[in-house]
Amino acid sequence: MEHLELFLKSIFIDNMVFATFLGMCSYLAVSKKVSTAVGLGAAVIFVLAITVPLNWLLDQYLLQPGALKWLGEEYASYDLSFLSFIMFIATIATMVQLVEIVVEKFSPSLYNSLGIFLPLIAVNCAILGGSLFMQSREIQTIGLAATYGIGSGIGWFLAILAIAAIREKIRYSNVPPALRGLGITFIITGLMAIGFMSFGGMLTGGDDEAPKEEKTAQVEPAKEQSENNEVIANNIKVNE
């Protein structure tokens, strides 16, 4: 259930493109044709699904304050969290290279369709953003981290697929000359983002209170319920 919730949330509500604007550069640059958009989208899902859990491990056992405890008590006070940018980006760059080599070796046809996009992905903000959000939202287990990675990847994939399809069709419309190309793409993306905002009520049943903590607090259901009750109680008090 937790997994499903996080999965749907990362696809629709916290959609990489429409809610946080990650990976906009490649989103705008590679969305002229559906076929290339599919290639890049698939590569993003692939790399996110690998790097987010990997960076979760790094974060958990190396970077967090007190994460080095497994080395011995005297390391418990170390806080290496300032190194997280460089560690994450190093993991991503290495993984991308590795994935490229492996794919080239074992599946030349997949390599031909993904090939040119893989190196691009190392500098796609969606990938680093996935890891950084994973860290700042304090995702609890490696399984959830993987779910989050795959979910955000699919969200990004949907977004680029949708805009590519629209851009293929918009060629036949009479757009004001100065808006053609980039301008209209921006505005359409804005409208799509407004549309995606309506998913915000999906998991909370339209409750305005959409508690932000839900993203981080993955406590046992019973405890969560009591917290919810508290929130409701507080609301009632406020209303009174």
Partner: protein, 215 residues
């Protein structure tokens, strides 16, 4: 500008308008959209990018002859990441509230396409001084757009600039609010950033027909 030759001046002024990194080269969009709900955040972000891009361009330009071209992306990422860590630590120390607002977007300067784009397109082929000017110029062009977007979003969205109420007090109904003006809270939400940038592009291309695309 006695210090700079004509060519050098062009390096700085070109990205401000006709070769703007955001509206023409389409680089570095992510951060331009995500953090522009307040003017202050936009300004801090522009300064951070200027620091990283200016210095990064110099470092890469100095190393351009010894970087093996196969692993240059990793080298570039390491240089940027080191500079961004400095920015992040400085922000955390001196402007903690602001660094909370910017959240992961300081980290995302690493993958800001402007930086990689300028490294690849300019710093790898030019000397340090020129690269420095190019870095400053491009981050100024980036900053200009960020500040325009931040200005409009904060002014129309919450009626303030840099946190100061400039349109009067919405609760006491003074200033503009006395004649029935309301803040448009929608401007603070993320989709409006896209639409504001779209309008900036529209205005710019209407003024300069040469920039119009075919589709």
């Amino acid at each position: 500008m006695g210090l700079l030759s004509k060519k050098d001046t062009k390096l700085i002024t070109d990205p401000l308008a006709d070769n703007n990194p955001i509206t023409i080269q389409v680089l570095g969009i992510c951060s331009a959209l995500a953090i522009t709900a307040e003017l202050k955040a936009s300004i801090v972000m522009s300064i951070s990018v200027m620091f990283v891009l200016g210095l990064g361009n110099v470092v890469i330009s100095l190393m351009r002859n010894i970087i093996p071209s196969k692993i240059r992306i990793i080298v570039q990422l390491t240089v940027v990441a080191a500079l961004v860590i400095i920015v992040d630590q400085v922000l955390k120390a001196f402007a903690y509230e602001l660094s909370k607002t910017l959240s992961v977007f300081v980290g995302l300067i690493i993958t800001n396409c402007i930086i990689m784009g300028r490294f690849e397109a300019f710093a790898l082929a030019n000397g340090p001084w020129k690269s420095f000017l190019d870095g400053i110029g491009n981050s100024l062009g980036y900053g200009v757009i960020l500040i325009i977007v931040g200005f409009f979003r904060e002014l129309l969205g919450s009626g303030t600039l840099l946190g100061f109420p400039v349109l009067g007090d919405p609760i006491a109904k003074t200033g503009l609010y006395a004649i029935g003006y309301e803040n448009n809270g929608f401007m603070l939400l993320s989709p409006m950033a896209l639409i504001v940038v779209g309008i900036i592009i529209w205005v710019q291309r209407t003024r300069n027909k040469a920039l119009v695309e075919d589709h």
